[in-house]
């Protein structure tokens, strides 16, 4: 193991290198581009023996890896924002064809207005495509989760595509120390993909062709069943990873200082780190507050949310996107999971940090003030007023 100061994007590239991916499809988009640039460097230097495909669009990028994966290859691609939106059709193909594609996504706001800032709307808009979705908090978690994602996606019980996401700039371009496991460690954890090729060269067959309604229902149900097996598989895979590397990211909903907490904030991605510091500060002042990190959005960890709810009165949800439902997407899922809970905690949604807006310690402190206040609103847009300070004119 070595420690390297690297960006979240480099952590994606290093993970793909360590996973010994065989086919990479690349199409540039800010702030993802440096992921595939680094991979191009690995391939050019001979460190990675992969086919590197430069394609003409994100739609083609995903289609290329879906096809390669159907032939048995371990594949990687990465995108962001508008690029992910263009992939939407093929995202459904990937899960429906049951190919274990793993993709890095840099969470970036969708236009208009044009923005390159962090925002989860791009991947939240893909929550219904049958992909496993991981949201990472640190560059270390990016690297570890991509490796775990291959194991889960390729597990015969699952066989579903997975995306590992990271916040634009707050991870993609942030450099910080990352432990890089040795090739031997990763090879033992993630051996070459067991070839259960769906397609075999020379053996004519069709994938995804016309189906009557009777079979169609079964295919969809199969995907749903596979989704149900993801969290148990994650638990086993994480345990194995922890045994080999000493690192355990705590399942789909790791918690922080929730034991005796009355109010808990549920976060996704990088807001979690800042929230942890805020919780320590509030605890010093006597507030009984805690944190739950929603690390896996699909499948939604319903049981873990119910277990959390059993011991707290109030749950705040920080949604770093707004997708025009009654509340943000994570809050809707939490409410749905808790409909039958008794007692049922109050759920208050905070939409914050969208379009790259900073989620400051002050903003998180305000969320807790509302959450602990007399009447926590159902939905609050945090920092809706003018920017606090623009960096430059």
């Amino acid at each position: 193991m070595t420690q390297i100061v690297m960006s979240g994007n480099s952590a994606q590239s290093y993970a793909a290198l360590l996973a010994r991916v065989q086919v990479i499809a690349a199409y540039p988009i800010t702030p993802q581009t440096t992921i595939v640039e680094k991979l191009a460097e690995f391939v050019a230097n001979g460190r990675l023996a992969a086919q590197y495909l430069q394609v003409e669009s994100e739609h083609s990028a995903l289609q290329s890896v879906v096809s390669a994966s159907a032939l048995g290859a371990r594949t990687y691609t990465a995108t962001s924002s508008q690029g992910l939106l263009l992939m939407h059709e093929v995202l459904h193909w990937a899960s429906g064809l049951r190919v274990p594609v793993v993709m890095g996504v840099v969470n970036r706001a969708v236009a208009p207005p044009w923005s390159i800032g962090a925002d989860h709307a791009d991947t939240i808009a893909q929550r219904d495509t049958g992909w496993i979705q991981f949201y990472a908090e640190s560059n270390q978690e990016v690297l570890d989760t991509v490796l775990e994602a291959y194991r889960i996606a390729e597990d015969p019980a699952v066989r579903l595509p997975a995306m590992v996401t990271e916040d634009a700039f707050y991870l993609s371009h942030t450099v910080e120390p990352v432990d890089v496991p040795s090739a031997e460690t990763v090879d033992a954890f993630l051996p070459a993909r067991e070839v259960r090729a769906i397609l075999v060269p020379g053996v004519p067959a069709r994938l995804g062709s016309f189906t009557g309604p009777i079979e169609y229902v079964g295919f969809r149900r199969d995907v749903a069943r596979a989704m149900e097996r993801v969290l148990p598989t994650l638990a086993a895979v994480e345990e194995d990873y922890a045994r080999r590397t000493g690192r355990d990211h705590g399942g789909p909903l790791p918690t922080y200082r929730t034991e005796d907490a009355d109010a808990v904030l549920l976060t996704m991605g990088t807001a979690t780190t800042t929230a942890r510091a805020v919780i320590d500060a509030l605890r010093e002042e006597g507030h009984r507050v805690g944190l739950a990190k929603l690390r896996v959005f699909r499948p939604f960890p319903v049981e873990a949310v119910r277990a959390l709810a059993a011991s707290v009165d109030r749950i705040g949800v920080l949604d770093r996107s707004f997708t025009f439902g009654p509340t943000g997407a994570a809050a809707m899922e939490v409410r749905s999971a808790l409909y039958d809970a008794s007692p049922r905690p109050l759920v208050s949604d905070f939409v914050a940090g969208i379009g790259g807006r900073d989620i400051t310690p002050e903003a998180i402190t305000r969320m807790f003030a509302l959450l602990e206040g007399p009447e926590p609103p159902e939905l609050t847009w945090i920092d809706l007023a003018a920017p606090e300070a623009s960096a430059d004119g």
């Binding site: 207005p113 910080e176 120390p177 942890r276 510091a277 606090e388 300070a389 623009s390």
Partner: protein, 287 residues
């Protein structure tokens, strides 16, 4: 925890400077974090980069609004005023400038430092007179003036992570460390120029249709410019290439068909000069 904010322009290396500082801090045994903020990703546009250095893992993932140190890679950025925003009263301001530090504007209490990183960079052949790469020289100055990192770690980081001309960049860092000058802080009542208060912008008036906010005609990008195009009419063939290629529509053709640059919209990107077939456009440094 030490918080350092870099201000530069796209292409000057502010982001690389911040990352190199993080690498050096790591070699010093610290836990660093560095990340950039891009307004617009274009050469010449203002770029901000943030670096945090701590003994333990950094637990903030937000931009730096109350820096301990502000590093300005191009003195023109001081004029915009926002570079000093939030700078702590006992902080350090380090500017790439030929001027003596005592001449730098700063709020009371702030230690002012300056270094002529441009000349140092050019002496070592780093970049071109039009676009000198000043980041290693200014990092050397930062190490000497603040102790944020050791010069040894900085040189090691340069060796490992600067792909081109590591020896020259190391020499530039050493020269920057030797040449930096520091002026005592101004006392209250004598502070000059931009204040370090965090500005609160007035509430935004948001238009209903975000697509119609502005056009090239209304956005003056002149503040980004460090070079200006000068057209030699005797060599101009009136081919219109510069007019076609200018990304900011800063060039118009006059009645005779000669190009005229509207400097209030010219950001100094040099595309017109690169595209001009007879080489009639020269990019000259702003005074």
């Amino acid at each position: 925890m030490l918080e350092i904010r870099f201000h530069g322009r796209g292409g000057q290396g502010a982001v690389v400077a911040s990352e190199l500082l993080a690498q050096a801090a790591f070699l010093d045994g610290k836990r660093p974090q560095s990340f950039p903020f891009f307004g617009v990703e274009r050469r010449g546009a203002p770029v901000t980069a943030y670096c945090r250095i701590d003994d333990r893992e950094v637990r903030l993932r937000t931009s730096i609004t109350r820096p301990d140190i502000v590093v300005v890679l191009e003195p023109g950025l001081l004029r915009a005023g926002s570079a000093m925003e939030g700078l702590k009263p006992d902080g350090i301001l380090l500017v790439n400038s030929r001027e003596e530090p005592a001449a730098l504007p700063a709020p009371a209490g702030v230690r002012r430092a300056s270094v002529d990183a441009t000349t140092i960079a050019l002496t070592h052949g780093l970049g071109t007179p039009m676009m000198p790469i000043v980041n290693t020289a200014i990092l050397g100055a930062l190490a000497a003036a603040s102790g944020a990192v050791s010069l040894g770690a900085l040189e090691q980081a340069i060796d490992r992570f600067v792909p081109a001309h590591p020896a020259e960049n190391r020499a530039a860092a050493r020269d920057g460390a030797a040449a930096v000058r520091v002026a005592p802080p101004l006392t209250a009542g004598h502070s000059r120029g931009a204040s370090s208060a965090v500005a609160r912008a007035p509430p935004l008036e948001l238009p209903d249709a975000p697509m119609a906010v502005a056009s090239s005609a209304t956005i003056a990008t002149a503040a980004w410019r460090t070079l200006r195009p000068e057209i030699d009419q005797r060599r101009c063939t009136r081919c219109n290439f510069c007019w076609k290629f200018c990304p900011d529509v800063a060039i118009e053709l006059n009645a005779e068909g000669f190009p005229v640059v509207h400097l209030e919209h010219c950001k100094g990107c040099g595309i017109c000069a690169a595209e001009c077939p007879p080489g009639a456009i020269a990019m000259v440094a702003e005074g």
